[in-house]
């Protein structure tokens, strides 16, 4: 793959879905490219269609206009080349232990042998610091630990792209900050590609290297900007993004903080 060729390309994607009463346009003609090694953020307030957009990349929703290509192949259905990490804690299979949860994914989707799958599973379970809990069932773990298992599972599959849908949103603030640091440390180690959905501006700047700003009702691209690691720059950027998203929409702001 040449350097200029994007790993994931989203072109003019419009997504609509029906409720019993209405036809809702979730996103309208969204374009963006994700390159190898990107920590690409979809950022926007509630109702901007960022999660819907990611589910379309995941293959769960088919856009009614435009197309999504991963390595040049059109995305048609869910698959293990795009592993999802969800916000919900119930994304682990409760009937399997931590190690089995990771190994099961490898066995079913990658057709690894049992021994190979367990070995690789253990490697990634250790990577997220849960070796002591490898044989525990998910219900014995705290929320942060469950999310770590989900991340280990996603990474163990070595997907083309890791899709993370507000994975830390349901955690308490202290755990969330630690998980963000851990995720960045893991990225430093393996340089995976991740598409990360969040509604927190601070999280977007901290995690991402490139941020796609979406405006709500329907979701349209407002800007695509580079993040920064410099703390003073980051504070400035946070303010700028805040103004871009909310300056003319005070009600949206209120809803966001509610």
């Amino acid at each position: 793959m040449t350097h200029s060729e994007p790993l994931l390309s989203v072109r003019g994607v419009t997504i609509q879905y029906k409720t019993p009463q209405h036809l809702i346009t979730a996103t309208y003609r969204v374009d963006f490219d994700v390159h190898q090694g990107d920590r690409f953020i979809l950022l926007g307030p509630s109702g901007c269609g960022k999660s819907t957009l990611q589910k379309a990349v995941g293959g769960y929703i088919t856009p009614c206009e435009g197309e999504i290509r991963l390595k040049g192949q059109k995305v048609k259905e869910p698959g293990p080349d795009r592993m999802m990490v969800f916000q919900e804690f119930d994304q682990l299979l409760p009937w399997k232990t931590v190690k089995q949860n990771v190994a099961f994914a490898l066995q079913t989707a990658k057709r690894l042998s049992r021994a190979e799958a367990e070995e690789r599973a253990m490697h990634y379970v250790c990577k997220v610091g849960l070796e002591k809990f490898a044989n525990s069932h998910p219900h014995m773990l705290s929320g942060g630990m469950k999310q770590r298992v989900a991340i280990a599972r996603g990474m163990a599959m070595e997907p083309d792209i890791l899709l993370m849908d507000e994975p830390f949103a349901a955690l308490d603030a202290l755990t969330r900050r630690r998980m963000q640091d851990e995720l960045l440390a893991l990225w430093e180690e393996t340089r995976f590609t991740v598409l990360f959905v969040t509604h927190s501006i601070a999280e977007a700047i901290k995690i991402g290297n490139r941020i796609l700003l979406l405006s709500p009702h329907p979701g349209r691209v407002k800007a695509e900007i580079n993040s920064t690691t410099d703390p003073i720059e980051a504070a400035r950027l946070e303010k700028r993004i805040h103004e871009m998203l909310f300056v003319n929409e005070p009600e949206e702001e209120e809803a966001e903080h509610a």
Partner: protein
């Protein structure tokens, strides 16, 4: 408005006093012997009370005792034999009356009907998750047939299949299928969206998706269905055997009860009923409880 919080002056109201900051050293203040007990052993009585078998056993002993006392005060063997008389009759029937053979005959029919019922329920629920029309079919069938007592079908079964085990199996299947299908189906519907998405993320589809994701995820409901189905089947069988039990030479437990009532051997009737209860207790507390302990309790989906 959110801006309100920023415009409210911070120094409104009386000023709070200025206080020094306080830091505690981690261990300096508590000496070793001051530390309170963190973990203490339970007393003997508490430990025993925590064993469910003992608690349930105690209840059984009390019930047996009450039965014995009532039976003795009534002193009427024809109406209400005491516990000890029933146990004696049970022992005698096991040794001489062929009670075990009767129970075995009943169980054989029961297991056949139960197995066929499970199979049928599996096919129906599989159709129900495969298509919309299958789901409608299952919903209509269960709402029609679930309230229909299996015994009500017995006369028809006798005409269709004659005086044989086939008729018994037929009513058993009817009593089992709908309960299991209904519970399994609602279990499948209750599987969380996230788990379903995880399964599809692994590339699972069709049969693999059902066996590897849906069935384990819906297992608590499926197990409930199996338990209800078992109870329904057992009841139906005994009732059906009371109506007609003579099939291919050896009747089951229901027929044993009916026969002994006709002979006015009431303690044998009680012995027969006790056998029904004992088998029910064993299945519930040994088989189903073990399955529960190994599955849903270990997975933390039931406590």
């Amino acid at each position: 408005m959110l801006n309100m919080t920023a415009t409210v002056p911070r120094d409104a109201g009386p000023a709070t006093p200025v206080r020094a900051e306080i830091y505690h050293d981690d261990r300096a203040s508590t000496s070793e012997d001051e530390i309170t007990v963190v973990q203490a052993r339970l007393t003997w009585a508490e430990a025993l009370y925590n064993v469910p078998v003992l608690r349930k056993g105690l209840i059984l002993v009390v019930l047996a005792l009450a039965w014995e006392i009532y039976g003795r005060t009534l002193n009427n063997d024809l109406l209400f034999p005491s516990f000890s008389q029933t146990i004696a009759a049970l022992w005698d029937s096991v040794l001489n009356g062929g009670l075990l053979m009767r129970a075995l005959a009943s169980l054989k029919v029961l297991v056949t009907g139960y197995a066929v019922g499970i199979l049928l329920a599996a096919v129906l629920t599989a159709l129900a998750i495969a298509s919309r029309i299958g789901r409608d079919f299952l919903e209509i069938m269960t709402s029609m047939f679930n309230p229909l007592p299996a015994i009500a079908l017995l006369p028809l079964a006798l005409i269709w299949f004659g005086l044989g085990n086939m008729s018994l199996v037929f009513v058993l299947v009817h009593s089992v299928t709908w309960a299991i299908a209904l519970n399994t189906h609602s279990g499948f519907l209750g599987v969380s969206r996230t788990l379903k998405m995880v399964g599809r993320n692994y590339g699972l589809k069709g049969w693999g998706f059902i066996t590897k994701i849906l069935i384990p995820a819906a297992f608590p409901s499926i197990l409930t269905g199996l338990k209800i189905g078992w109870a329904f089947a057992w009841r139906t069988l005994i009732a059906a055997e009371l109506v007609f039990g003579v099939s291919s030479g050896s009747g089951g437990l229901g027929w044993f009860i009916f026969e002994n009532k006709n002979l006015l051997e009431i303690s044998n009737v009680f012995a027969g009923l006790l056998t029904v209860i004992i088998i029910g207790l064993v299945v519930e507390n040994l088989i189903f409880a073990t399955i529960e302990k190994r599955t849903i309790q270990r997975w933390g989906v039931q406590h």
